[in-house]
């Protein structure tokens, strides 16, 4: 749905995007993560037709964002990092104006605005002035505006910034709902736990380029089942007593490598399927090792982010 190939964008000699590549499939809720100044907002603006690229190509739904801007605008809903509102309008007037700006026929405008108000939970505030809304409500209003023309792709640049925890929970639920409706969503955020909760995949961006984490991945798959037949998995084991006998026992088992050992805990890498893991655990227990805890160790998004960008600050 979104195809960015080797895109380069320069501002006054600085590469905001430098041969950046990204592919987002239809229906995905795709996260974009990187430090400040990494190029996230520039990429969002490029995709929203607000910035032309210097070289490379960016397409949404097969349409070139540089040359087919009008068609792309019909397809895309864009929410900038600092969305503005017309404070002196009422909530309904604000939505009616943008419904007209998106050329929604006058006969349909009322129904479209009513739906947007219901969707955003602002139906009972429709006659209030926008300036009377809280920050979270304004964000909801802007998201409602972004959805007025039924876009197939949503570009959300840091939509959760400044929201209180409750508003963030509501936003996450709304985004999951929109994804379930088939909308492709590209979202950038610094709130990694939010992204980890809702995104299907996350791309790393640093200094305008595709960044790779400590595992060599530039795109992290999160909520897509991925169980290959043969794989290397890491487990953290908590033991009662000395870990040395357990480590010796583990080293003797084929396909198992002890990564760390000491003070009642051990980290091992096990090669193979679930059966191999199960057999290893059985071997430990029958070998007289008292296992308190046996957990798969996966790197969280926050840990991966820290390892990727931590030393670049």
């Amino acid at each position: 749905m979104i195809a960015v190939e080797q895109v380069r964008k320069t501002f006054n000699g600085t590469h905001a995007l430098d041969s950046f590549t990204l592919h987002v499939a239809k229906g995905e809720l795709f996260g974009l993560v990187g430090p400040n100044g990494a190029g996230k907002t520039t990429l969002m603006k490029v995709l929203a037709t607000l910035l032309p690229v210097d070289s490379g190509s960016a397409q949404i739904g097969g349409l070139n964002v540089n040359t087919q801007t009008r068609e792309v605008k019909r397809l895309v809903g864009y929410m900038p990092d600092q969305p503005g509102v017309y404070q002196d309008m009422s909530v309904r007037e604000f939505l009616e104006f943008f419904a007209a700006a998106f050329h929604i026929p006058r006969a349909r405008q009322k129904a479209v605005v009513d739906r947007a108000l219901a969707r955003s939970g602002l139906a009972d505030r429709s006659h209030d002035a926008v300036e009377q809304l809280s920050f979270g409500m304004k964000q909801r209003l802007v998201l409602a505006k972004t959805l007025l023309h039924d876009p197939k792709v949503l570009l959300l640049d840091e939509p959760a910034t400044g929201l209180d925890p409750m508003a963030r929970i509501e936003l996450r639920a709304q985004l999951k709902q929109l994804q379930a409706e088939g909308i492709t969503i590209l979202i950038s955020s610094h709130i990694l736990s939010d992204l980890e909760d809702i995104c299907t995949q996350i791309a790393l961006i640093g200094a305008g380029r595709n960044a790779t984490d400590s595992e060599g991945q530039s795109v992290i798959r999160l909520h897509v089942p991925q169980v290959p037949q043969v794989q290397l998995r890491t487990y953290e084991i908590e033991l009662v007593g000395d870990s040395a006998p357990a480590a010796r026992l583990a080293e003797a088992i084929t396909g198992v490598r002890v990564v760390e050992s000491g003070s009642g805990r051990m980290v091992v890498e096990i090669e193979g399927s679930d059966e191999n893991v199960s057999a290893f655990l059985r071997a430990l227990v029958t070998g007289g090792v008292n296992v308190l805890r046996f957990d798969p160790r996966t790197l969280g998004l926050e840990e991966r982010y820290q390892r990727t960008f931590g030393d670049r600050r």
Partner: protein, 271 residues
């Protein structure tokens, strides 16, 4: 109807200045007219003041005062209208909607022009007082009104250009006012200084008609809005060359300002 026009008019009429400025404008215009009437009819010994003289004086006073006031007000409405979208971060929402740059410009232009035209219309009762005294025909009123509208449309397009070129309303408004001063005052000073130098030259006699003044000395005045208004008081057959030249210059620069504004709007996507 262009949704931008509806939105702009709605927002403008809700602003406090939406009613303060017209009120202030009428008070100032009324005071100027009353002062002109007082001066004209002041007892000058035995001389009897003709009604037509009062009518002409009042008409000219209103026409020039009205133009001066509206020139001062035009930047208030036009120079901030695009920068406000940048300041309140709504520009990207407009540019990612299906509104074209032309529609955005037209919406801003029409709404700001309509507001100054509203002021022009509200002064019609004051202007009609001049009719009561005579000496003024429909042609003079018509040509002066059309000329004022052209000047205001031009100033609006300049104000919108400034608004598209700057990020802050205060900067755009300041440059718009500088343009008003340059056109209304600097051109006149330039013209009179150069004319004085020309006439004081040994080889030259005093200039009789407008056409006898060398073109390079006359040129700045074709940009002067008060000269443009003055040239509109000529009978229809004498509008050429002064009025038509002024109209051409205003139209040319106005179109240039529109083209540059549209270019800036397309480039201002990085907001």
């Amino acid at each position: 109807m262009n949704p931008m026009i509806r939105k702009e008019l709605r927002q403008r009429m809700r602003e406090r200045r939406g009613w303060i400025l017209p009120s202030l404008y009428l008070v100032v215009l009324g005071a100027v007219v009353a002062f002109a009437y007082f001066l004209t009819t002041l007892d000058r010994g035995k001389a009897i003041v003709q009604g037509s003289t009062v009518g002409v004086v009042m008409f000219l006073t209103i026409a020039y005062a009205q133009l001066a006031l509206l020139l001062l007000m035009a930047p208030i409405f036009s120079a901030g209208s695009i920068t406000i979208e940048k300041e309140q971060k709504t520009m990207s929402a407009l540019l990612t909607s299906l509104l074209t740059s032309e529609q955005i410009w037209w919406g801003k232009f029409v709404s700001s022009l309509l507001f100054v035209l509203l002021l022009l219309v509200t002064s019609l009762p004051v202007l009609s007082m001049a009719f009561a005294f005579g000496g003024i025909g429909p042609w003079e009123v018509f040509s002066a009104t059309i000329t004022t509208v052209i000047i205001l449309a031009f100033m609006n397009s300049i104000g919108l250009f400034c608004s598209s070129a700057f990020r802050r309303s205060i900067h755009a408004t300041a440059v718009s006012y500088a343009t008003v001063v340059a056109l209304g005052v600097v051109t006149a000073i330039l013209f009179f200084v150069r004319l004085q130098l020309y006439e004081s030259g040994v080889a030259h006699a005093s200039t009789g008609s407008w056409e006898s003044i060398p073109l390079d000395i006359r040129v700045p005045m074709y940009l002067n809005p008060f000269f443009f208004l003055t040239s509109s008081f000529a009978p229809p057959r004498q509008l050429y060359p002064a009025w038509t030249t002024c109209a051409g210059v205003y139209l040319g620069f106005g179109v240039l300002a529109v083209a540059l504004t549209l270019r800036n709007l397309r480039r201002s996507r990085d907001v």
